[in-house]
């Protein structure tokens, strides 16, 4: 079999978190009773006209500047015509040939190798409603989502693997989160992507025929879809078949993609400039205003964490890749906590709990202040590391002050030598075998004895003191 290269390009749709819809004053809030976040405009009543929400352009410019795009001085909005019940006007207002942003890039790093992934364009458009097939009698439609602003980010076919794709999506998501322009909640559909895949024999210059996969609902599904589709295409080529340009539907449950429509059946969207809307002129002042609002972006954050916080490349990337975590780290450091310790807690116990509970970092129910307080108590040896873990558990269950938790749960550590002595005596009395082992040179017996002391003290004894006291006793025997 020949050696093949997989070529991947993405079209990422992100719902923008503006307060109101793109062409009317309805709320963009997710959920809500069916068809209550609607008005004559977003339900396409006869005679209505759209008025562009300028915030949408602000947000698109913001994303464009954060990804090194050129911002067009003159944008326009076009109608994309097609019939579907979730599209009330039977056309979607989008942008055809003059998108807000063009020619940008996102830097990714896989296995220590840095690489720029090109962005062809970023344009603004309106979302469609949602069909409800589970209705008792036929299909119903909910227009709450109709008219929610979207940006579509189109990448160049610069991605070569699932890993690169995942990293690109993570970087993009982090950028959108940092800019606070999108909630990026996959499960609410605020971030969706279409995946274009082609393969070619290694060394060949021309691109192979690509297929586009729709209905890809998570980053991991994107990776699975790419893996499947590349394998399918390679197998077909090996069998002497020709890949046909088509749109395919990814079925994540079945782990397969299916033909949706061939190129011949592809829609003719009959794009033309929307005569109800005027040109969007973006002057230098507008761009400068948005530029001045840009926050520190993920890549800059990583560098700062490495340089100033002395975090490892890996840790810095992990924390900076998640805005909620990065915010907590910066805040905790401001409150006097050590960056290294805070980072360890965030990537260790806290991440583990989030994972177990299937929660996002943005949903952490406590603040950086809690983490800083806990770390300070450990530093002062008021509580042990083990007790710290308990504090975190408690904070997840019901957030309250760290001091209160320590008091309530009796987590304060005993560092009074007189109080610890009786425990040490008790342990030594009951573990003659371990004492003998230690004397024979088995130094790990010491650890066992300290563990016994901790258990006997119900975790409250100062482990370092136990260690020193027991060692002293053993050595003097």
């Amino acid at each position: 079999m020949m050696d093949y290269e997989t070529i991947i390009g993405l079209e990422v749709h992100a719902e923008l978190s503006t307060k109101t819809k793109i062409y009317c004053n309805c709320t963009t809030e997710f959920g809500g009773e069916v068809n209550t976040h609607t008005c004559p405009i977003c339900t396409g009543q006869p005679g209505v006209l759209p008025v562009l929400n300028k915030k949408v352009v602000d947000y698109a410019i913001k994303v464009g500047l954060a990804t090194d795009c050129s911002i067009t001085p003159l944008g326009k909005q076009d109608r994309k015509n097609y019939f579907y019940p979730d599209l009330p006007k039977a056309y979607q207002i989008s942008q055809f040939d003059l998108p807000i942003c063009t020619n940008g890039k996102v830097e990714i790093e896989v296995d220590g190798l840095k690489k720029d992934i090109g962005l062809t364009r970023i344009h603004i458009e309106e979302d469609a409603g949602k069909l409800l097939h589970e209705a008792v009698d036929g299909t119903l439609v909910d227009y709450n989502r109709g008219g929610v602003p979207l940006i579509e980010i189109v990448s160049e076919p610069d991605l070569r693997s699932e890993e690169e794709t995942r990293e690109f999506l993570n970087q993009l998501k982090a950028i959108l989160e940092y800019l606070e322009v999108s909630d990026c909640k996959m499960q609410e559909g605020s971030l969706r992507c279409d995946v274009n895949v082609s393969v070619r024999p290694k060394g060949q210059k021309e691109l192979g025929t690509r297929t586009e996969m729709k209905n890809v609902n998570s980053f991991s599904a994107a990776c699975r879809a790419i893996k499947y589709e590349a394998a399918r295409q390679i197998e077909a080529l090996e069998d002497g078949e020709v890949i046909s340009q088509e749109t395919r539907r990814w079925d994540d449950d079945k782990g397969k993609s299916f033909t949706m429509r061939s190129k011949e059946d592809s829609h003719d969207y009959r794009y033309f400039p929307d005569p109800d809307l005027v040109a969007i002129s973006i002057d230098e002042q507008w761009i400068k205003r948005i530029h001045d609002e840009l926050p520190e972006l993920p890549r800059a954050k990583v560098e700062r964490y490495i340089k100033i916080y002395n975090l490892s490349d890996y840790d810095a990337g992990q924390v900076a890749g998640n805005k909620a975590m990065a915010d907590m780290l910066d805040e905790a450091v401001k409150l006097g906590a050590s960056a290294k310790f805070t980072c360890n807690w965030l990537l260790g116990d806290i991440s583990k709990i989030l994972n177990d509970k299937n929660m996002e970092a943005s949903e952490i129910p406590f603040t950086a202040r809690h983490i800083a307080d806990m770390i300070s108590l450990i530093d002062k040896k008021t509580i042990s590391n083990t007790a710290g873990k308990k504090v975190i558990d408690e904070l997840f269950d019901s957030p309250r002050s760290v001091e209160q938790i320590v008091k309530e749960k009796g987590l304060a550590q005993i560092s009074d030598e007189a109080a610890l002595l009786s425990v040490v005596d008790e342990v030594l009395k009951n573990n003659e075998k371990s004492i003998a082992d230690y004397k024979k040179g088995k130094t790990n017996a010491l650890g066992f004895l300290v563990g016994q002391a901790m258990r006997l003290s119900k975790g409250k004894g100062n482990p370092q003191m136990f260690n020193d006291m027991i060692k002293r006793k053993l050595d003097s025997l």
Binding site: G44, G47, A90, P275, D276
Partner: protein
């Protein structure tokens, strides 16, 4: 003299001086509708009760010696393509036969705010596509001057109602001549304002870049008054101009002295009937007599006007009318096997032939592979037309042309051949393409006593000059329109 025959300006005087009440005036016009509408067929729906309620409110204000707006208490009619909250807005289409809007068009909201009694909604060509009001799904509207003839279109109901004194004035919409042509055929005044001067919010779209709402009135002074009410910036319409709007009535003086008028020779040549040509020539002479400077001039690409217009208008219409799909509101076919079948049958049954013809044309010219040859080319022609008008209107205060090649034709005379029907708009479509204002003013009759109008075309935002020139002509006594004789078929309504 019956109250219903008066102009809005005359009625306002009566109201102010308490010589007549708004209820009396409104009842007089309602009585007239009862008398003649069975013959004329202007109204698709009537809202007499709410009109009388509004009239009462105005009378109460007058009784309290409150100042009333110039058009308060004076009953009028609205073309049935402007949304009226809680009142059917059908666009004279089966597709919207039972459609009741949940909001008021901006112009309707302005009328209501000014205490204007709205008598009802008047007939039109289906979705404003036509030049005779014959494409209405519901009924014929007859020309009050000769009921064998069409009133013009698409605002045929509006023009006929004003002509027959069934409304003191009416609102129409004009995409390619739909206010000016029926006004000319019915012998009333009709103004298509500068694109962007009157909000389109709530006007059911035909061709968004060409559509404009405007007044149809009994005389020029009333036209200026209606403009004072409906013109202005509207945040709900992105194409609405945010400028300082003039007071259109304030500067209305009967003086054409020194006005520079251009007469593009292409509009006076072949295709224009002898009678129309003769009347227009006399109008030109009259303007010269009034002290205007009239010169022959030329406009480029006149042969391409209709082609460019129909490509752009149909392209936009094909997209604007796509929303009538049987899903959310309006007509839905009874039997269908799947979604595609639902769309096909709904649209086949809900739209008339002319609408379907234009949707198909528009879909074609936007299709990939044809876009450059048709739509893009038409947009290029549009730019040339705009520049041509702009150059001419730099040289002249206004341009003068016929409104239509001939007088109102007989029912059915042009409906079999769409091209013949489209030629009705030859003198009017370019004005919409250029976006400039134009007014149709009654200026004579032909041998059969059928009205002929003259079209005056102004600069962007040049309505004050246009109205002044029209007013001067009207006041000169050159031509006094005669009221039509309509046989009353009382009680048949």
């Amino acid at each position: 003299m019956e109250l219903y025959t008066l102009t809005a300006s005359e009625m306002h005087e009566l109201l102010k001086t308490k010589k007549a009440s708004s209820v009396e005036i409104t009842n007089s016009v309602i009585g007239r509708i009862d008398d003649v509408d069975a013959t004329i067929g202007s109204f698709l729906s009537s809202t007499f009760d709410s009109a009388l309620d509004t009239a009462k409110t105005v009378d109460e204000k007058i009784a309290r010696n409150e100042k009333i707006a110039p058009l308060a208490g004076i009953p009028m009619a609205v073309k049935d393509n402007m949304c009226t909250k809680g009142v059917k807005t059908t666009c004279a289409s089966r597709m919207l036969e039972n459609y009741i809007p949940m909001y008021d068009a901006d112009v309707v909201a302005k009328l209501k705010k000014a205490d204007v009694p709205i008598l009802g909604k008047v007939n039109m060509d289906e979705f404003a596509m036509g030049s005779s009001t014959e494409t209405s799904y519901f009924k014929k509207t007859r020309n009050p001057h000769n009921i064998e003839r069409i009133p013009g279109g698409s605002s045929g109901g509006s023009a006929a109602a004003v002509c027959a004194d069934e409304a003191v004035y009416a609102l129409g919409s004009d995409t390619g001549g739909s206010i000016r042509q029926p006004s000319s055929h019915c012998g009333v005044v009709g103004l298509k304002p500068t694109y962007g001067v009157v909000s389109r919010f709530g006007l059911v779209a035909f061709a968004s870049s060409l559509d404009q709402i405007g007044p149809i009135t009994k005389n020029v002074a009333d036209c200026a008054k209606v403009m004072d009410l409906i013109a202005g910036h509207d945040e709900k319409d992105s194409t609405s101009f945010n400028i300082d709007y003039p007071n259109y009535s304030a500067n209305l003086i009967p003086d054409a002295k020194g006005l520079k008028i251009g007469v593009p020779r292409e509009y006076m040549g072949k295709g224009i009937s002898e009678d129309v040509s003769a009347v227009i020539k006399n109008v030109i002479k009259q303007y010269e007599d009034m002290g205007a400077i009239v010169e022959e001039t030329s406009l480029p690409l006149t042969d391409y006007y209709l082609a460019a217009y129909y490509i752009i208008a149909c392209a936009e219409a094909s997209s604007n009318l796509a929303r009538y799909d049987g899903i959310k509101y309006g007509y839905r076919t009874k039997d269908f096997s799947d979604l595609t079948d639902l769309y096909k049958k709904t649209r086949s049954e809900g739209f008339g032939d002319e609408v379907k013809r234009r949707i198909i044309l528009g879909t074609y010219v936007l299709s990939s592979g044809y876009y450059d040859a048709y739509y893009k080319k038409a947009q290029q022609v549009r730019t040339i037309i705009r520049n041509g008008f702009s150059d001419e209107l730099d040289k002249y205060d206004l341009l003068l042309t016929p409104v239509t090649p001939d007088v109102a034709f007989k029912f059915g005379e042009k409906s079999s051949d769409p091209i013949t029907m489209y030629l009705e708009d030859i003198c009017t479509v370019s004005i919409n393409i250029a976006g400039v204002p134009a007014i149709s003013v009654p200026c004579g009759v032909n041998r059969e006593n059928l009205p002929i109008g003259v079209q005056l075309i102004g600069k962007h935002f040049g309505e004050p000059t246009l109205l002044r020139a029209a007013y001067a002509f009207e006041q000169s006594g050159f031509f006094t329109p005669q009221k039509p004789q309509i046989k009353s078929v009382k009680g048949s309504k």
